[in-house]
């Protein structure tokens, strides 16, 4: 039954050779069973011998079928090895028919009865072994080699499913070959007293092959179900995307198409469509081009993409994008074109507006292709660069930049086309453009990739930032100027302590000099005193110079620097300047500097100014306080958010509720003679350092001003 079934499968699909092979194997099994049954139940040695002879023939057929199955089913076997294995097997059959009773037996003298599986059967009684049996055993060995080799190859190269196949079919076949040749060999040699039962392992092999083939049948059924499902989904997706799908039969000159396509082109639902009818719908101006594209595709049996217009009622135009693939038969004759079409009218209208938008843009716009050639410029670009557009189109974009950037830019351009994305150009770099008259000007450029029929283009939007840089520079300058004014006025407030600090060493110097005068006039002059005096004078002179240097540093006009600095050293500098004033005003000072703080970046002088301002404010706030409450506390620490924090606390009159932000406004002051600029400038300075400054009221009265500054980024050591 099985044999017939798979024979039927093969007859319907001639290419499924494994089905034929399986049928042959089953034929072998059935034949083998029949002849083994005959030999088991005969009384005559002649009949036994005859049956044995035919057994070898069907065995050879069955083996050939199984080996062929392996060949077609695995697809990995060696063809020559297959030939050798089958050839040897049939050579053994020839020997079987030409020598002795059969391949195994030369003469059978008698049979005897024995019990096998509970049944009385005939087995060999007295016989002579045929030497040609060795040929049969050798043939089995080659078969085994072939099967194992093919299985191993499949195992190595195949999928998980193939591996399973290699084990089930290859393994069973190998076991069968060993069992069959072993059992028959041992029986013929007289070691085993039992009938030849090669058919039993052979049957097992047939079952294994059947199992594999049935799985294939089931799998293909499932595949076909899935295919139907995916076709349905495809139709749904095409409908949703408003894609029209069509097939043009070149032989019958018919076009089959989905309803969407008919809708796009303006055909009725059931209308018969041929190519001429289709062309009539196309805009007369596009017909020729479309025809040419299609003919070329059919001629080359290739793929095409095109766009064309169709005229729909009320003389409106619809843009269609279409792509198709020509399919031909085995002889290379084009049979049909299969493809999809979609409505791109909206896209086309946008494209038509594009040049208008570009032209009207207040920025300079330059469109560049992947070769770096300028494709399009707008009026603003002409104005910016001083070139007419006819001078720019087709030129390399690098002509618009100063010489020194050109080579590097070519590399950047290639990199951009490899990974196009909308972004500003040269982030963090200062960009310059070159005008026709050779003048450079600073610019900012935004880049956007644009996909077009001509490939990817890059749209560069260019802004001249000369004016902006100028005003930024002026703001910066004014800020520095204002900060300087504030510093000078702050230093004015410190005049008393500054005088004290300077007069101290100057007084010492004068006294020393006059003492030296007196010592010199003594007889004998006190030379050791003079030496001490000179050393002291030098030291005091350095001290005075140091005071002056610090004052000058603070009073110097200067633009902001941006260098790594330690906040604690800023505090120490300021304390040196202000300590005299603190003593003079009978304030006490608490300093708590966290050791080992990371550095921040910024301008030492400006930060000193901020701190100086906070300390003086704190002292001013405590003027009316009793002496034990005139205490100012300066603290540094590393905040939880990795910001360096500097705080100045006082025990003064504190901050009025709701005024803590107004403090930082210009001209806001609580002092009778205050200008109201100090904190406003302090905030400007701190913000320029990417930090924050704010005020808080203390629970014990008074106010705390806090400044936070970011930690300097780690700089790799060179």
């Amino acid at each position: 039954m099985m044999m017939l079934m798979f024979l039927l499968v093969w007859s319907r699909d001639r290419s499924s050779w494994e089905n034929l092979c399986f049928s042959i194997t089953v034929f072998g099994v059935v034949g083998l069973m029949a002849f083994e049954m005959v030999s088991m139940h005969t009384e005559s040695p002649e009949v036994y011998g005859g049956a044995a002879k035919w057994t070898h023939l069907v065995y050879a057929i069955g083996v050939a079928g199984a080996l062929g199955f392996v060949h077609f089913y695995f697809g990995t076997s060696k063809r020559w090895l297959l030939g050798l294995a089958i050839g040897l097997r049939f050579l053994a059959v020839v020997a079987n028919f030409t020598t002795g009773q059969c391949l195994h037996l030369k003469y059978i003298h008698s049979l005897q009865k024995t019990t096998f599986l509970g049944e009385q059967v005939s087995v060999l009684g007295d016989w002579e072994i045929n030497r040609w049996v060795l040929l049969g055993q050798f043939a089995s060995l080659v078969q085994l080699w072939y099967v194992v080799d093919a299985s191993i190859r499949l195992w190595r190269t195949g999928s998980a499913d193939d591996k399973k196949r290699a084990v089930v079919v290859g393994g069973t076949l190998a076991v069968f070959i060993i069992a069959a040749s072993g059992q028959s060999g041992l029986v013929a040699a007289g070691v085993l007293k039992m009938p030849f039962i090669v058919s039993i392992p052979f049957f097992g092999l047939a079952l294994a092959m059947c199992y594999e083939l049935s799985r294939d049948v089931l799998r293909s059924a499932r595949l076909s179900r899935e295919l139907q499902e995916s076709e349905r989904r495809m139709a749904l997706a095409a409908g949703a995307a408003n894609l029209g799908i069509w097939i043009r039969d070149l032989v019958k000159n018919e076009i089959w198409a989905t309803d969407q396509w008919r809708g796009l082109l303006g055909f009725e639902k059931l209308e018969q469509i041929n190519f001429d009818g289709y062309l009539k719908k196309v805009h007369p101006k596009d017909r020729e081009n479309l025809n040419r594209v299609l003919s070329k595709a059919i001629e080359s049996k290739g793929h095409y993409e095109t766009e064309y217009r169709v005229v729909i009622p009320e003389d409106r135009i619809r843009w269609i994008a279409s792509r198709g693939q020509v399919e031909s038969n085995k002889d290379g004759k084009p049979l049909l074109v299969r493809g999809v079409s979609m409505d791109i009218t909206a896209l086309k209208q946008a494209e038509e507006k594009f040049p208008l938008v570009v032209e009207a843009s207040p920025n300079g716009i330059v469109l560049v292709n992947s070769d770096g050639e300028i494709v399009l410029v707008n009026a603003e670009t002409e104005k910016l660069f001083g070139y007419g557009r006819e001078e720019l189109i087709g030129q390399v974009a690098e002509m618009l930049m100063p010489e020194r950037f050109r080579v590097a830019h070519q590399g950047h351009r290639a990199g951009y086309f490899a990974l196009p994305a909308a972004r500003p150009m040269g982030t963090g770099m200062e960009l310059f453009a070159l005008r026709k008259n050779g003048v450079e000007f600073p610019i900012e450029i935004g880049l956007s990739p644009i996909q077009t029929k001509e490939g990817t283009l890059v749209l560069a939007a260019i802004v001249d930032i000369t004016a902006r840089i100028q005003s930024e520079f002026e703001i910066q300058h004014q800020r520095a100027e204002l900060a300087h004014v504030a510093r000078v006025s702050t230093m004015g407030e410190l005049a008393a302590s500054v005088a004290h600090e300077l007069n101290q060493p100057l007084g010492a110097i004068l006294a020393n000099a006059e003492a030296a005068d007196l010592f010199l006039s003594q007889d004998p002059p006190a030379l050791s005193e003079l030496r001490d005096i000179l050393a002291d004078i030098r030291r005091d002179d350095e001290r005075a110079s140091e005071v002056i240097r610090r004052m000058r540093a603070l009073l110097r006009k200067h633009e902001m620097e941006n260098l790594p600095l330690e906040i604690n050293s800023v505090v120490e500098d300021v304390l040196q300047v202000v300590s005299g004033d603190i003593a003079l005003r009978k304030m006490s000072l608490g300093v708590d500097l966290a050791p080992g703080l990371p550095k921040t970046t910024g301008d030492r002088i400006h930060l000193q100014q901020v701190l100086l301002n906070l300390i003086i404010n704190g002292m001013d706030a405590m003027v009316d306080q009793p002496r034990e409450r005139r205490r100012i506390a300066i603290r540094t620490r590393l905040g939880a958010d990795r910001m360096i924090e500097l705080s100045v606390s006082d025990l003064g009159h504190g901050i009025e509720v709701g005024k803590s932000e107004r403090l930082f406004e210009p001209f806001f002051t609580s002092k009778p003679n205050g200008m109201g600029m100090g904190l406003s400038i302090a905030r400007t300075i701190v913000q320029a350092h990417h930090g924050r400054i704010w005020a808080e009221s203390n629970s014990n009265g008074g106010a705390t001003f806090r400044v936070t500054l970011p930690v300097a980024p780690a700089i790799a050591k060179l």
Binding site: H500, E501, N503, A508, L510, A511, L518, F519, E529, D540
Partner: protein
């Protein structure tokens, strides 16, 4: 060190300045004593021997004016010359009103410093004599009875015995006896000397 020699006390928190001025004064032949703070100066009871003080106006802790105030309460306050790096008028006026000998700004020249010191030392010597005299006269005055003090006051005021007797409601003979007692206890021989002693007491 001869304790009878006047000593110049220098009080300044700035060691460098202290040493330099000390050196200058020593070169000029003065005894010098230095103090880094007003507290140490006051603790040393410097008034025991003659001298004067060079006091820095601005010091951490007790300021110069406060030292002056505290020092004035002692038995033998020495004349004070203030030194300051930066003098302002209100402070100097206050210092002078409180009896400072001088108010000098740093840097100070010896031509200004030395005369000031000489003046201060001379004043100290003078004040010491006056203080000694006053102490002696007051000690004598302490021995007078209440009636004798009344009589002395009226004599010094220039009253005749008769007027005094009438004022006190007694007889002239009794007044005469009191008057002799007063002259003896006060160790004076003339009314003019008694007037001078009364003058010393009233200072």
């Amino acid at each position: 060190m001869n304790s009878a020699n006047p000593t110049v006390h220098i009080v300044d928190d700035d060691a460098s300045f202290r040493n330099a001025v000390s050196r200058l004064l020593r070169a000029a032949g003065h005894q010098v004593q230095c103090y880094p703070s007003s507290a140490e100066f006051l603790a040393a009871k410097p008034g025991a021997v003659p001298g004067c003080v060079l006091l820095d106006l601005h010091m951490p802790g007790t300021s110069g004016l406060e030292v002056q105030e505290a020092f004035a309460q002692t038995e033998n306050p020495l004349p004070i010359i203030f030194l300051t790096g930066h003098g302002d008028i209100p402070t100097s006026v206050r210092a002078m009103r409180e009896g400072a000998e001088d108010f000098l700004t740093k840097p100070v020249k010896k031509d200004a410093l030395f005369p000031a010191i000489e003046r201060a030392l001379a004043r100290d010597a003078r004040e010491r004599i006056e203080r000694a005299l006053r102490r002696e006269v007051s000690a004598r005055y302490e021995t007078l009875t209440a009636r004798e003090r009344e009589v002395m006051a009226l004599v010094v005021a220039g009253n005749l015995n008769k007027q005094i007797a009438s004022d006190l409601g007694t007889v002239e003979r009794t007044v005469k006896a009191h008057r002799a007692q007063v002259m003896e206890k006060m160790q004076v021989t003339s009314v003019a000397d008694l007037v001078r002693a009364s003058d010393i007491l009233s200072r």
